[in-house]
C-alpha cells in the first residue's frame, strides 16, 4: 500500500482516467442503483458504447449494519461482494479503454474490498495495469465514546434525542463523505476507487471535479455535479424504469439502458443512454428522478456544496438526450451527516390468503380472532398492523370498502415490540387460524413467519472539523 493519508495532492500517472477533459466532455455511466440491482447493467454500460467512468451505488441507509454483521462473522467480509465478481468480468475492458470505476461498495471494510478487487484484477489479467484507491475515515464506530465525551451529542435529526439514549444499541456509525477523497484517489492514479459511506451523488461528480479541475469553491459547478449525481444514483429510475408517466409506452425495459451523464467543464450536462438500449430518457423520466427522495428542493445539502434544485433548467433534445443547465449552489454547512444504525426490537409479519366469497370479510374476521388470542395470551406489542393485500395495503381508507365479489385477498398481520419472546409467540399463532378460523383459507405453505431483528436508522449531524483530519486515501496496486 502506498499511503497518501493526510495529503490532498497526488501524482497523476500517464495511464487511465484523466484524459476525457481533452475532448471537452466526460461521460459518467450509472451502473448500479442499489445493492441487488440488475447485475448485467454495468456490463452493458461498459460494452454498449463510449464511457469514461462507471459509478456504482451499493449502499442504502441500513446496508452498513448488515455489512457490519457480516464482518463480525468474518473479518474479511463487510462489503458488496457482487462488486468483486463484476470487476473480474469488466477489468480488462476498463483497463484497455481507460474507464475509471467509482463505487461505495467498500461498505464497512473498504480496505478488504480493495484487496479483493486487486486480486480479481490479477485473475482477470490486468496485473500492473490498474490501481485501486481506498477511501477511509467514514467509520465512527471506534470513536463514538470519544466524540460523545467531547460534547458531540449526535442527536437524532428527526426527534432531537441525544445518541446517549441508545448508545448501547448502536451497531454502526458512518459519516457521509463527499468528493474530496475520491478526487484525491483519482489524482493519485487510482483507476478504481472504493469508498465506504460516501454520498451517492459524489460518486458521479468526483470524476467531473477531477477531469475539469473545478475549484472547491466553484459552488455552481459543484451543484451541477450534485444534480447529475442525483439523476445517476438510482440507475434506470432516470431512464424509464419505475416511471409513472405512460409506463406502457416505454420500450425495451428488459434491456434497459442505464443513464449516462455527459458533462462539460461549465457544469452543463446531458442525460442520455447508450444507442440501441431499452428504456427512454426524456423530460418526464428525468423530472421524476429529480423529485425522488427530495426534501426542500432549494436546500439539497451535501458535504461539498448546498445545491438549489429550483434552479435546474431542462431541455429535451430528442434522441434520448435531456440537457441540464443553470444550476446554482452555495457553500456547504459546517456539519456532515452521520448515519447511525441501532437495534430497535423485533418484528414479524404473517400472511394467509382468503378466497371468494366474502374474502375480505373472512380475512377481517380472522384478524379479529388472532388479536383476541394475542390478548388472551397477555402479549403486548408496540404496534400491530392489519392489512388486506389486494385491497387496502397501499392506499388504506382511500381504497374504500371492498366489493363483496372480491375474488381473493391476502391477510397480512405484522407485530413489533421489544420483547423477542412475544414476537416469537405471535409467529406460532398464525397457522392455527387455518383450522380454527374462517373458511376457504390457503397460502400458508411458506411456514411460520420469521422473527426479524429491527435495525433502525438514526440520522445525526457532526462538526466536520472532527471528521476531516481522519479521512484517508490508500492505494493498492493490481
Amino acid at each position: 500500500m502506498t499511503g497518501t493519508r493526510g495529503s490532498l495532492a497526488g501524482t497523476a500517472p500517464a495511464a487511465a482516467p484523466g484524459n476525457a477533459s481533452a475532448r471537452g466532455t466526460v461521460r459518467i455511466a450509472s451502473g448500479q442503483g442499489f445493492w441487488g440491482d440488475d447485475l448485467e447493467a454495468p456490463v452493458r454500460q461498459v460494452e454498449g458504447g463510449d464511457i469514461d467512468y462507471l459509478m456504482l451505488d451499493y449502499l442504502a441507509e441500513v446496508t452498513m449494519s448488515i455489512m457490519r454483521k457480516q464482518r463480525a462473522r468474518d473479518p474479511r467480509a463487510g462489503y458488496a461482494r457482487d462488486f468483486v465478481s463484476l470487476m473480474e468480468r469488466i477489468f480488462p475492458a476498463c483497463v484497455e479503454r481507460g474507464i475509471g470505476v467509482v463505487t461505495n461498495a467498500g461498505g464497512v471494510n473498504p480496505a478488504g474490498c480493495a484487496q479483493a478487487v486487486a486480486q480479481a484484477g490479477r485473475r482477470a489479467g490486468t496485473a500492473g495495469r490498474a490501481r485501486v484507491g481506498v477511501v477511509t475515515g467514514d467509520d465512527l464506530m471506534d470513536r463514538l465514546d470519544e466524540l460523545l465525551a467531547a460534547g458531540h451529542p449526535l442527536a437524532n435529526m428527526e426527534t432531537g434525542e441525544p445518541l446517549r439514549a441508545i448508545r448501547d444499541r448502536v451497531l454502526s456509525a458512518n459519516v457521509y463523505l463527499g468528493a474530496v477523497p475520491i478526487v484525491t484517489a483519482l489524482e493519485s492514479g487510482a483507476t478504481v476507487v472504493v469508498t465506504g459511506r460516501s454520498t451517492d451523488t459524489a460518486l458521479t461528480y468526483a470524476p467531473m471535479v477531477r477531469e475539469f479541475g473545478w475549484p472547491r469553491d466553484a459552488w455552481d459547478l459543484l451543484a451541477s455535479g450534485v444534480v447529475a449525481g442525483h439523476i445517476n444514483e438510482c440507475g434506470a429510475q432516470a431512464s424509464g424504469g419505475n416511471c409513472s408517466a405512460e409506463w406502457w409506452t416505454i420500450p425495451g425495459l428488459a434491456r434497459v439502458g442505464f443513464p449516462i451523464v455527459e458533462a462539460g467543464a461549465d457544469g452543463t450536462f446531458v442525460v442520455t443512454k447508450h444507442p440501441g438500449s431499452g428504456g427512454v430518457v426524456n423530460l418526464r423520466t428525468v423530472k421524476e428522478q429529480i423529485l425522488y427522495e427530495m426534501g426542500d428542493p432549494a436546500t439539497y445539502v451535501t458535504p461539498d456544496v448546498t445545491a438549489d434544485f429550483t434552479t435546474i433548467r431542462l431541455e429535451e433534445e430528442g434522441g434520448d438526450r435531456v440537457r441540464v443547465h443553470g444550476i446554482r449552489g452555495r457553500p456547504p454547512t459546517s456539519f456532515l451527516k452521520v448515519s447511525v444504525a441501532h437495534a430497535a426490537g423485533y418484528k414479524a409479519v404473517g400472511t394467509l390468503v382468503y378466497a371468494w366469497p366474502d374474502a375480505a370479510a373472512k380475512a377481517r374476521a380472522a384478524a379479529r380472532i388472532l388479536r383476541e388470542r394475542l390478548d388472551r395470551l397477555g402479549l403486548a406489542f408496540e404496534r400491530v398492523l392489519v392489512e388486506l393485500v389486494g385491497w387496502d395495503s397501499t392506499h388504506g381508507h382511500l381504497a374504500g370498502d371492498p366489493p363483496p365479489d372480491l375474488p381473493e385477498v391476502q391477510l397480512r398481520v405484522g407485530v413489533r415490540g421489544d420483547d423477542r419472546r412475544g414476537v416469537e409467540r405471535f409467529t406460532r399463532e398464525v397457522a392455527p387460524l387455518v383450522l380454527t378460523g374462517p373458511p376457504s383459507v390457503t397460502g400458508f405453505a411458506g411456514g411460520r413467519p420469521r422473527v426479524q431483528e429491527i435495525v433502525a436508522y438514526w440520522p445525526a449531524l457532526i462538526d466536520r472539523t472532527v471528521v476531516e483530519p481522519h479521512i484517508g486515501v490508500d492505494l493498492v496496486e493490481v
Partner: protein, 127 residues
C-alpha cells in the same frame, strides 16, 4: 367546472426519508401548473390522506420543473426497517395522492380526461 382525478393532471414519484414519505407531482401539460398550485394545497393533501399521514404536510414548489414536492411526515409507521407497512418506503404513496379529486374548468377536464391510465388495462378492462 368539472371533477377530475389528479392522475389526469399529473404524474408522480414517491420515496422516503426516515418516517417521512415524499411525493413529487409533475403536471402533464405545463399550462396546468397554476391549477396544481391552486388546488393541491398542503391542507387539501392532509385532508385527503387523513390518518395515513400522522404528522404535518409540507409543500415545496419547483416552478422550473412545473412540479411540486410534498413531504408527508409520519406516514411510514417509523419508516424503512422499523415499519410494518407493505409500503414501508413510501414507494406508492404517489398513486394514493393521484386518487385525489379536484375541480377544474370544463375545458381542462375535456383535455385531460383519461390521462394516466393504460389503454389496455386501464378502467378495469382486460383488453
Amino acid at each position: 367546472m368539472a371533477e377530475v382525478r389528479l392522475l389526469e393532471l399529473a404524474h408522480a414519484r414517491s420515496g422516503d426519508k426516515g418516517n417521512t414519505a415524499n411525493v413529487g407531482l409533475i403536471v402533464w401539460d405545463e399550462e396546468d401548473y397554476p391549477l396544481l398550485l391552486k388546488e393541491v394545497t398542503p391542507e387539501r393533501v392532509k385532508q385527503h390522506f387523513k390518518d395515513l399521514v400522522q404528522g404535518p404536510v409540507e409543500r415545496f414548489a419547483l416552478d422550473n420543473l412545473h412540479a411540486v414536492n410534498f413531504l408527508l411526515h409520519g406516514a411510514l409507521d417509523g419508516g424503512g426497517t422499523v415499519s410494518l407497512m407493505t409500503d414501508a418506503q413510501g414507494k406508492v404513496f404517489s398513486t394514493a395522492l393521484l386518487r385525489m379529486k379536484i375541480e377544474v374548468p370544463d375545458e381542462v377536464a375535456k383535455r385531460v380526461r383519461g390521462r394516466g391510465r393504460c389503454p389496455v388495462d386501464g378502467g378495469g378492462g382486460r383488453g
